[in-house]
Each structure stands twice: as C-alpha cells, then as structure tokens.
C-alpha cells in the first residue's frame, strides 16, 4: 500500500477536534487534510483521490449526513467514517444504512480509530483495483467481434463446442477457432479465468 498516495480527509467544525485528529493520525505517517465544514471540503476535494473521509455528524450548515448523501449521489466512492457524539446512535444507524464504512463514538480509542481508518483505506484500494480490472476487461471485450461475443457467452455458460456449433449453425471446427481467438483476445490463460472475467464484466454492468 502506498501511503503517500492516500489521504485521510477530516471534516469537523470544532477546530480543537480537527487539529487533535490530524496530530493523532499523522503520528502513524498517513497524510491528513482538514476542513472546517462540508462546503469547505467539497470546494477542495478532487474526485477519484484515494483515501477516506472522517466526518463529524453534528455540524452547522451542511451536516455530516448531508455530505455523505451528497457524495453517494455524485458517485464519489470515498469510504466515509462517521464520528458521533455520545448517544447519537440513531444518527449512526442512519449513516450506516446510507453506506458509511464505519462509525466511531467520541471520545474514541486511538487504536479503534486507526484500525477503522486502515480498513477504510484498504477497502478503497480494493475498490479501485477492482474498478481498474473491470475497465481492463471492458477494453478487451470491446475488441471481440459479435460472433466471438456469442461464442464467449455460451462458453462461459459451460456449453460444449458441439452444442455451440449446433446453436449457431456452424461447424465445430469454426467454434474451436472462435474460442481460441476469444481466449487470445481476452488474454485468458484458462477457461476459469475467462469465466471470472465474464462475471466481472456482468457485475460492472449491473453496478452501473
């Protein structure tokens, strides 16, 4: 994991909280950016930056939940950790339902906070890798001819060459040739690899 590339964004209206959190998190070597309000954060945030968001629920103006909702709508896939005061469990539940990665209650144990941050960053990294893989698969799929698409779909469904030949009205030899070309174009070493790619593509399609 490359720490220099990831950033922990802290949004809290209380200046003491902001600076103390920065002091704590920076002690582990992670880079921290602090913002006094949601609007401030949105003004400086570049979508796609790796990292996670540490968000205070109670804030004047746009509250933490509001910001979370806004990010989700704008499809900014930055993991959000909600910081709540004592007894704001109802708000935490709401935040979790809205897709928050975690919530943490003030005053918090430093280990808990840091673990939660690390998990969120790991999740972000995985998410990014998966998105990159999907994009790769999508690029390769775009290279296939329509007939090769058909052949690939049938192969990944687990059909035999002869079945595919009968269904498409071509000879088994032709199917064999198509199949070899698909494997080549998709750069799949084995049939299992090809199936995984097909599933990845499907998930990406359904996710979008």
């Amino acid at each position: 994991m490359n720490h220099s590339e990831t950033t922990v964004f802290v949004v809290d209206d209380d200046q003491a909280m902001r600076t103390s959190l920065q002091w704590l998190i920076e002690s582990t070597g992670m880079s921290v950016e602090t913002y006094a309000s949601a609007d401030d954060f949105l003004a400086h945030y570049v979508p796609g930056r790796a990292g996670c968001l540490l968000l205070d629920v109670r804030m004047p103006g746009m509250s933490g939940l509001d910001l979370q909702g806004y990010l989700a709508r704008e499809n900014y896939r930055v993991p959000v950790i909600i910081i709540t005061g004592h007894g704001d469990v109802a708000m935490a539940v709401k935040a979790m339902k809205a897709g928050a990665a975690d919530f943490i209650e003030k005053p918090f144990d430093d280990e808990d906070l840091l673990r939660s941050i690390r998990n969120a960053l790991a999740f972000d990294a995985r998410q990014r890798a998966s998105r990159e893989a999907c994009a790769e698969v999508a690029v390769r799929l775009a290279e296939l001819t329509p007939r090769e698409h058909e052949v690939m779909a049938m192969v990944t469904e687990g059909r035999a060459n002869k079945e595919i030949a009968a269904a498409l009205g071509v000879s088994a030899k032709t199917v064999e040739a198509h199949r070899a070309r698909v494997m080549e174009k998709m750069r799949a070493g084995s049939l299992a690899e090809l199936v995984r790619m097909a599933l990845l593509a499907e998930r990406e399609l359904s996710a979008d």
Partner: protein
Amino acid sequence: MRITIKPLLFRLLRRVPMPLIAIGVGLTAGLAVWLVLDQIQSRQVGKIFGQELEAQLELRARESLVRFERYLASYSATTRLLANSQRLSEYLEPLFWSRDQTFEPLIYREFRPHWLPDFFARDALLGPSHVLLTDPWGQVREIFQSSDARLPAALATQVPESLYSERTSRALIERVDGRLYLIASDATADAAGYAMGYLLVLVPIDEAFLAASQRGVDVGRAAVALIDASDQEILVSINAEALPSGTRLERWRSTYVITSQPLLEQEGSGSDVRFATFVSQAVVEKMSRHVRLFERRQRGIAALVFILVFTAVIYLVSVRLNKVLRRMTRFSTRALGFAEPGFNRGGNQLVLLEEWIQHFTQLVLAAREEMSRRHQAEMRQSEALKAAMMEASLDAVVTLDQRGRVIEFNPAAEHLLGLRREAALGRVFTEQCVPEAARGRFRHLLDRSQHAHRVSEGRGELVARHSSGAEVPVELSIVPIDLESERVHTLYIHDITERKRAEQEIKGLARFASESPSPILRVTAAGVLVYANSASRTLLVVWGCAPGEPLPAPWRERVVSALASGEQHEEELEAGGQLYSLLFAPIADLGYVNIYARDITAVRRAEQEARQHQAELVHVCRLSTLGEVATGMAHELNQPLSAIVNYANGCIRRLQSGAGEPEALIGALNQVSLQARRASDIIRHLRALVGKQPPVRAQVDLNHLAREVCSFIEFDTHRLDLQIALDLGPDAIPVLVDLVQLEQVVLNLLRNALDALEEVAPERRRLVLRTAVLEGEARVSVEDSGPGIPAERLPTLFDAFVTTKEGGMGMGLAISQTIVENHEGRIWAESTPGCGSIFHIALPLAASAQTTEAPS
C-alpha cells in the same frame, strides 16, 4: 160585455163586507129554494101522498079483510068444536038413521037442545040462525031454530053436497033464497066413532055480522061490504043506510074509494062474492090537504133555517177571516216587512185574502228562492270550511262507510299513514292501516261509539300501521254520523308518538331523584325531613333521623337560614368516612329546602392528587429540559475531552516511534491543557444549572435570571452560530418566584425559539431576550425571527400535548403556563407567520420592589 162586467163585479164585490154578502146570498138561496122546490116538491109530494094513501087504503082494506076472514074462521072452529063435542057424540050414540026411512026433521024452536052448548056466545060470536044435523047423505034430521026466521027452503030437507065434506070442516058464504048466509059444516060421529052425518051452522050475513066481524073498528071513515063480483052490486054493507044492498057499485065510485078483494077459502062456493072496503073521498081529500099544508110549513121553516144558518156560518167565517186578516196584517208587517198590506180598509175579506195569499205566495216563492240561494251559498261555504278543516287538520281525519271502507282521507292522514288519498279511498281501513293485533281493539272502539250519548266511549289509544310497516301509536276518536241512507264513522286520529315519548321522558325524569346515586332530600321550613332518596341512608344514619322527623338542630338552623336568604349555599359534612357537600336550595314559595348532597371524598382526593401530579409533572419537565441542556453540555464536553485524548495519543505514538520533535510535542501538550480548561468551564456551567433547586420562593432579580438562563444554552446558540441579544431593564426587577421553576420557563421559551430558528437561513436568525417593568408588572419576553406560528394554532398553543416537534411531548408550554399561573402571572404569545414570534410573561413585582420603586 162580460169583459167589462167582470172587473166591475169584482170591484163591487171587494167593497161589500162578507156578512152582507152572506145575508144576501142566504136570502137568495132561501128564496130560490122556496120558489123552485115548492113547485116541484108539492107535485112530487102529492104524487107520493097519493101512492101512500093508496097503499094505506089497501092496507086498511086488507086489515078489514083479514079481520073478516078471521071472524069466519072463528065460526068454522066453533062448528068443529060443536060437531066433535062429547055431548053431541053421546047424544048420537043411541041414534041410527037409515037412508030409506022416511021421517020428519025434528025442529027445536023454543029451547036449545042438549047437544048444542052455547059456544058462540062464549066466543062473542053472533048466534046462528039455524043449526042442522044431517045424516051422512045430507038429509036434515034435526033443526035448531034460534029465531022465528024460517029455514030456507033449499035446505029444508036436503043439504046440497057442496056444503059439506067428509074430510074437512067448511065455512062457506052462500046466497040462499036471496039471502047471504055463512054455512059452516063438520062431520059428526057417535061415541063409538061411527060417522053419523054432519053438523051445519047457518049464520045470516047482515049489517050486524059485518059490524061484529070488524069488532068495533071505526067504520066512519071506511065502510066494508060484500059485493057480487059478477053483478057489481052490493050484497050487504056494514051501513045499510049509507050503502043499501042491491045498489050498483058505479053509483058509489064518485063518493068512495072502493077496494074489492076476493075472499079466501071460498072455492067451493057457487057465488062470486068479494069483500069490498069503502073509504069516503072527502076524508081522503082532507087528509091530502092536511099533509100538503104541513109539508109546506116545513119547507118554509127549512128555508128560514137555511138562511139563518148560512148567514151565521158565513158571518162567523168572515169574523174569523177578519181576525185571520188582522193577524196576517201583523205578520206581514212584522215578519215579512210589508209596509202597508192594506187589510184594514175593509171590504170583502175573501178577496183580500186571495190577494194577500197571491202576494204571500210570490213573497214565499221569492223568499224560498232567496233561502235556497243562501242555503246553497252556505252549503258551499260549509263545504269549503269543511274541506279547509280537513285539509288543515293536524289530526288525521278518515271517514268510513258502513262496511268500513274509506270514503274520506285528509292530508294529515296521508302523512300519518303514508298512504295517498287516491290509494286509500275505497279500501277497507282496518286491513290497510290497523295491524292485526290491534283490530279487535278497533272493533271494540267502533262498537262503543254506537252509544251516541256516551261521547267519550269511542275514544282510545291504538297502534296504527304506516304503509312502510312501521307502527305508530295513535289516539283515536270515532264519531258515528247518521246519514239518510246509512251510518258512517269519522275517525280522528292523533299521532301520539311524541306524547308517548314525552310521557316516558317525564317518567324517566321522575326517577331522577330516586335513582340518583347522590343523596337528595327535602326539608320543610320547620326542619322536618319529608323526602330522602335511597342514597341518603348514610346521611340519615349520621343525623339519626328518618323521613317525617326533624333534622338535628344545627342543620335545622341552616335550613331556616337558607329559606330566609332565599339563596343557595353549600356546606360540607363528614359522614361515615365520606366527605359530603350539601347544597341547600330553598324553594321559597313552597316553603321547602331541597338538599342535594355530593360525595366529594373522591373529588378532594383527586384534587390533592392532581396538585401532586402537577408538581411532579413540573419536576419531570424541568428534568427533561435540564436533560436536554445537559445533553448539549455533555456533547460540548466531549469535544475538549476527545481533543485531549487525541493530542495525548498522538504524543505517545510520536514518542514511541521517536519521531516526536520537542517543539511539536510542546504545542500539542499546550493544546491538551487548553482543552482541559475548556472542559472544566463546561462542567462549572452544568453545576450552576443543576445545583440550584430550592423549591421555595425568594425575591430574585429578573435580569439576573435572564443572564443565567442564557449561559445555560450558550452551547446551543454557539452551535447555531447565534448570539442571544439581551435587552434587559436598566434596574433590577425584583420578583418573588421559585427561581428554578421560572428559569425552566424562560429556558423552555429560548429552546423553542432556537428550534424555530433552525428552520430559517443562518443570516436571518435573531433571538432577543427582554426584561422590563410595564404597567406595574414585571415582563420577560422572548422574540425570535423563526417561521412564526400559524394564527389558528395560537389559541391552543398552551394546551397540553400540542406539539409540532418530532419526539416532543407537547408539555413544555403547558407546564410553563401552569408555573406562571402558579406565580399569579400570565403567559401569552404573539406571532406573525414568516416573521417570527414573541412570547410574553407578566409577573407581579415583589412587594419590596414596588415600595422601592415608588420614590424613583
């Protein structure tokens, strides 16, 4: 002529009074009777009299004849007596006469023989001239000769056979030797019954005989005679001088009326002798004249009587007529309204009467027409009235014919029975409108209504049936009406649903007192209990009295005082562990006092509990408010604490990894100490809020209170990035309050305002807390620039459980109001929707403040 004469006569007749006419008519009639009848009647009477006379004469002649014949018969009878007498039969016993024997008849001249008793004298008959005894062949054997007169030669020896008969006795009139004799004969027999011959008695018929035959009847007027019918000659008469025998009848016919009659039982006689009666013409004439005179006198009397009676009757009639006319005059003037009927002018009453009657008839006809017109008008009016009554009647009116069918049905009936009039007419009422169960009762009422003299008998209550099937209680009155042809019944039906309900309601109301679970009593002015319901038992036990007995003395006095004041008052009484409130309600005009008691034990307890609850609620509410404030404070406290922890942890990690530079660490530790101070400030505030809770009133400066409350919610206001604008009075405003409670109220108002302000943009947020002294009152007001309160919510703003807040109880303002009112103050709100609200609290100034304020 007649045309002119008639009115003339009529005019004349009108002038003459009735009695005069009557007399005139009577006289004329009498005269006419006299003149006309005299001629006719005299003749007629003469004729009748002639016939009568003839019949009279005939009768007299017949009577004479009958007498004569009876006289002859006497002789015949006497002869039979002699012929069959014992003496004669005894005398004849020894005798025997033979036919051939010659003999000389034996003549008795000087004496009467033994066999001939003098029966003639005894019977007042003229003695016979001769009595002969003959043998069966008619030869004369013995002769008795009463006088010197010789036996007629024709009979001297032999008696002709025609003069006797073997079978019967005979009496014949015979002319013998120119003289008339009565010859009576009978057969004789001796004692042994042997027929000896005949006994013949000869009596000469002469003047004396005829006179004897008439036995002294006056012959002066009428004479009798025997005549020879063939010769028309008198043979012998009763009066030889006047009517000598041998004279012819022609000679006497001018002077006598002659009636000749044949004699009976003279068939055997050879001579044609008839019996004649002579009546002198003069006598007849005299009688006739007498009769005529008498008759004429009678006619005269009759005529006179006729005139008198006629006149009298007419006079009387005219008198009566006069009276009648006078009455009619009065009647005409009074009843009929003739101004001048004109009956007083005299004249012929009949004509007047006729005129009057004519006039009267016209008047009566006119009056009748008028009456008929009026009657019709009245009928129409009455019909219209009746129809109007029927239409307008609130009661249903139904008329039934004899068979119970509807012939009249008014709108009220339509409404009551739900039946159109057209549909009801002709139907049988009971089938249509009376439920089966009530029909018997209906018939009973109908029967009772027949007793016309008992008016109320046809009345009663009944259930009628509406066409929808619903049953309607009604009061029914049946009135029979006798029409010419039949008897109909009119039913008056009154819907008593309402009344029934009202009755039930009244009954129900009457039960109020007795059913009331609270004691109700009535006491007289003298304090005697007259009524107590069952719920009063406990009271009565405590008082130790029962209805009819006087109340205990102190309560009697209260009754008297209640009556005297005339106003209600309440007293409390503890009885049997229960607390009662007694309401004394005097009824002055009846001299009673009604006592309404209430068991107020539970009420008192509830009041107490309510007070307690309210206190608890205030407390709970305050805790709740404080809780909220405390939550805010706790959150705030979290901030410095969390910051401290973070700084501390950050330092530790840096020191452990050895990466910590002293300058950086010192800065962090400075932060730690700063944040700790911040936390300690917060805790100080919290203690200030929670620590002050003395539940007693004390004099407090309102400005101080305001500042303190502001400090409690500093954190909230800070969060909202807001500053509370304090607009406080220049001097201290002392009020006597429970500080904690009043702080709670103001805090509540401020928190509400903050909530309201959250809803508006930050730049528009404004919150003002004011204190002032206005109109002798201490005022606190909280003004915000929130969205305001809709006008329709203002009136219920201070009610409990009214809230707009999510999760709010709606108790805040209600409790605030309770607290302020407990402090004899007021709380109210003003609001302009869209611009904000102001909440005001007014409290009385503390007494010391008022005194101290006065000089300044």
